[in-house]
Subunit: 137 residues, 3 copies
């Protein structure tokens, strides 16, 4: 019913996790579970979840560039600065995007639209691991 | 447990779908199902879901105008431009708003607040159909 | 399965409700309910839900200041003005943040990350009560 997905991130930007989530959901369900609901919850406050177009990589590039411009790394704007210039912008970007997402399951598969992929949106510069809790019902 | 709602959109802006969702939920439940959870998931990356005030139409107008100013149709800002000047802004607007929403059911009805309505927020100019998957538990 | 949480807000800003939610979830579950999903739904259109860092209060301060700058109380921008200069900005801020959140339950506890707290984000100036519907499955 619940599993944790660990995602290696290579730095700031959108990481496509559609296959990891889809494989995990398959391993958690039997072929009799044709309908259900998959809820993802990211256990961090400087990375978030996004469903977006996964066809043209330029969409991910433009999303990242646009959000960077909206929430600049400009220390003069922030009082929470001791964790580095990318930390407070990362919290703001997380607040503007999703910490949890719920995706129905139809015919034993995530009911994503034709062009929809699931992304982990890393808002900090570091490489590392992020954890997503996956709940099925 | 799962149904798909097809919504005709007349163009960019907020479309009130409260009655459609509410009617669908009634058709999916019996009078014994007094409590539950209704999850909506929109299968698109350039339209989103919103719960907002449905009393004064000026609220919808101002929301639309504000978001348009925040995310302008200015091709110089974007590299993903081949699908038209409204496409990349539509992806950004979707990223800033909700792809899934979960609304509790109380006394066999959606537990919306007094002034809350459910809207499909179309971010592209075209007329057409959008699909929302509705899951009940 | 469903309870309503009433939260007293002292005015605009982030109110930490982690303990209230956690206590309510404990009262709704038995020690046998080790896994589940807790969904929060706020019944208002000018306040929202947020999961954010609850360690350094400067994070909350900067989030509030940043969003205020993005969505100013400037009546010239809005046509919906009869409910006061803070009303339309409050609707916009709500649209950019979450009306519902789903948090998995693991080992009979909310599966929050180490630094994650749950906040009610009040976007209006007034003191008063806000209602959150809490659904458990």
């Amino acid at each position: 019913m619940i599993e944790t997905l660990s995602v290696n991130v290579s730095g700031q930007g959108l990481h496509d996790i559609t296959k990891s989530v889809s494989d995990l959901v398959s391993s958690m369900t039997s072929s009799n579970d044709r309908e259900g609901l998959c809820t993802l919850f990211i256990q961090h406050t400087s990375a978030s979840l996004l469903i977006q177009e996964n066809y043209d990589p330029a969409v991910c590039h433009d999303l990242e560039a646009w959000l960077k411009r909206l929430v600049p790394e400009d220390e003069a704007l922030y009082t929470h600065t001791q964790e580095g210039p990318d930390d407070m912008p990362a919290h703001i970007k997380s607040a503007l995007t999703a910490v949890s997402l719920s995706i129905p399951i139809l015919d034993s598969q995530l009911a994503l639209g034709t062009w929809q992929g699931i992304f982990l949106w890393e808002h900090r510069h570091h490489r590392g691991k992020r954890k997503i809790v996956v709940h099925l019902v």
